[in-house]
Symmetry: C2
Subunit: 422 residues, 2 copies
């Protein structure tokens, strides 16, 4: 394990000027104590922490890094626009080009609106669906993450019942449950939200079943509700189109974010003509929604998505990692649960109810130079190579050894235990 | 008037792939038809539209441009960070430096949380105040803009009563009205939101009266509610501290955005120790909230704010513009209403109830190379020079002539009339 001297000093300083030392999804509060909170730099598939320890990074900034950190083509496109202008008194002319390119790639889409956070796009979809239908109820899958706005944030401190008065829940992949939710809110369902597959923290991932996706489309068609696919997390890591196209299902709205400008801040709501009038009627905006540099980065990222085998690379390397881990776990006699698309892996240990094995393994992987997450789904980028995967598998093999060696001494994470008790 | 050939083609293309051709605060739907929707580039105090017509820009991207477009020091700081990394798997170590610098400049603040949109900061303040107090009611000034989230967006298409079930309203600058609102929600007020002065669209601006600010502080202290100053629009254009410090009033929370990274996308919520535990308890986050490049730009922008006379430059040039316009209007015998701080001017014509004079004047200014807004408060940047102001005044003088020449033929804006009827 490398030095942690700068990390320690930074965390002490952060504790004074940032509540809890950090907040949000990049806080390391729930991670093993070995995990660095602060990073110095990133390149390709690698990140370096404040003490210059380097890791092959399987989080990809929680998604945004699709093509590799500081990918040359995207950086050049962004730089060219930066020399012209970024945040101006109106949008750049390239906003039109971006909307045309995006709409041209996503089958269901006739129009696009750009914003900053993924949650901007999902909140817009909610408001738009209510404007379109004149109804109130939004159906979401239980436990699904659609952002951190009051209507959807997973932690309810400061959240009122009224913030969620018209949000109702169904079980993902359960057509009957969705049908029951429609019945319970008969005539008032404005929209069904669905992620393209289940990808919740601390849970095995689950691909969408076609019967469920078809039922969602059918109930929406029969009632006039809008079908919303929240592709913020999975977009362009499953398909070069909306992720449900592989099931043959076209939503009315799709939400995009994270990776379509390879790390530059931009998100989007795409919609069909059916929803256009409602889209015109709502007022949504933000200080930086029209900034041009992220749009230039997005145009180049979308081009790379269309014209290169980035997706096949993600899948091939994800498959190689999954197969390698599978073999190692069998050799070590420890059962792994590897779920979801291999390019967005979720890895848990069987018989690990309080996650102590998984946490110890992730900490050991980290010390071996591979940044794996013990409770959140992970991401591969097109910059990950087969050599990176092989180097990673050396670290994971040693991590299996370490876990077995220390098995009887493993303890659950104290903050995690506190939360699960609370 | 310059060419509008590219604009016209762009707007036709935009109409197909962007609902209504554009959305949000940078849509030109409510502006005179001469106003360009799309821009090619920006530098210093100037912007160029898609047809390469150039304007001295008094909107500054609706605020973000504080020091001048592409200001060299900020661009260099951003570039240095870009070569290290931007959106990574964790925040950069410079996030701590930024929090320390910001907290060191804002008297009331003990901690900082960074986000993307100004509305992220105001929504966080709302949730935080409810977490802190265990109460529901948020008091906002009637008509005040705090963002485009369901609880505060100015247009109510798609918005439910429940979204605003616990938002109540008082009259800005009216201590009695604020007191009455506290009484009406006795024991349930979580926070009072106030902009540092009145800066609504289509309204004269009004500075905060000290009695009102003191009453807000006093009612909050007596009831335990939090006082929130929404400095997103006015921050660092009134003071090098929270804008209410000149009144001697420290809020518990302040919301910041737009200009503190000179156009790079970042916003912030700052708070006092009183609110720290609640800040730790809420879950708020976004895909790009931890990106490092806007933080590097912010560190350099804050340094410039501390160490240069940028603010005195804004005020001097704002005063010169105001005095020049005042003289011109008197000479032309047309009464102007120039309100608010001169560096954030709002300019209306007296006896112009449907804004037809102001719209015609703004259109004539635009044709003369000065981008003035006919209904939104404007902004000066530190890149505006006295020579720019003099050049602007030549354009405005001709605009007064043009308005007088065509006075009897002026018509109100058709979309504006439609909205005011609706």
């Amino acid at each position: 394990m490398g030095s942690r001297i700068k990390q320690k000093a930074l965390m002490e300083r952060a504790e004074r000027v940032i509540p809890g030392g950090m907040y949000g999804h990049e806080s390391t509060l729930l991670l093993p104590p070995e995990f660095p909170q602060f990073f110095k730099r990133a390149l390709g598939a690698r990140i370096w922490d404040a003490d210059e320890n380097s890791y092959i990074d399987y989080m990809c900034a929680y998604g945004p890094n699709l093509l590799g950190y500081r990918q040359a083509g995207v950086e050049a496109a962004a730089e060219a626009q930066r020399l012209l202008g970024d945040t101006m008194t109106g949008p750049s002319e390239i906003m039109v080009e971006l909307a045309e390119a995006f709409v041209g790639m996503v089958t269901h889409a006739d129009w696009a609106m750009f914003c900053k956070n993924g949650g901007d796009a999902t909140s817009m979809a909610m408001v738009l669906a209510r404007a379109h239908t004149g109804r109130k109820t939004i159906l979401c899958a239980k436990g699904a993450y659609h952002g951190a706005a009051p209507w959807c944030t997973p932690r309810t401190s400061g959240i009122l019942d009224s913030d969620r008065a018209h949000i109702a829940y169904y079980e993902y992949n359960d057509a009957q449950s969705l049908f029951d939710a429609f019945k319970a809110h008969d005539g008032d369902v404005a929209a069904v939200f669905a992620t393209p597959f289940r990808h919740e923290v601390f849970e095995d991932q689950a691909l969408a079943q076609i019967e469920f996706a078809r039922a969602a489309r059918q109930h929406c068609d029969e009632t006039g509700a809008l079908l919303v696919v929240d592709d913020v997390r999975a977009g362009f890591r499953v398909a070069r189109d909306c992720s449900w196209m592989h099931l043959g299902i076209e939503p009315d709205l799709s939400c995009w974010g994270k990776c379509f400008a390879n790390g530059y801040p931009i998100s989007a709501l795409l919609g069909s003509n059916k929803a256009r009038d409602a889209a015109r009627s709502i007022f949504v905006t933000g200080s930086f929604w029209f900034s041009a540099v992220p749009m230039a980065a997005a145009i180049e990222t979308l081009r790379t998505i269309r014209e290169t085998p980035y997706l096949e690379t993600l899948v091939a390397n994800g498959d190689a990692l999954r197969a390698g881990l599978d073999g190692q776990s069998k050799r070590h006699g420890i059962e792994l649960k590897q779920t979801g698309p291999s390019q967005m892996p979720q890895i848990f240990f069987a018989d690990d109810p309080d996650f102590r094995i998984g946490y110890a393994w992730a900490a050991a992987c980290l010390n071996g130079g591979a940044y794996f997450h013990p409770y959140h789904n992970m991401f591969l980028s097109a910059a990950h190579t087969l050599e990176d995967v092989e180097e990673t598998l050396e670290a994971t093999d040693k991590a299996f050894d370490a876990v077995l060696r220390n098995f009887s001494m493993l303890q659950p994470h104290p903050v995690l235990m506190q939360l699960s008790r609370g």
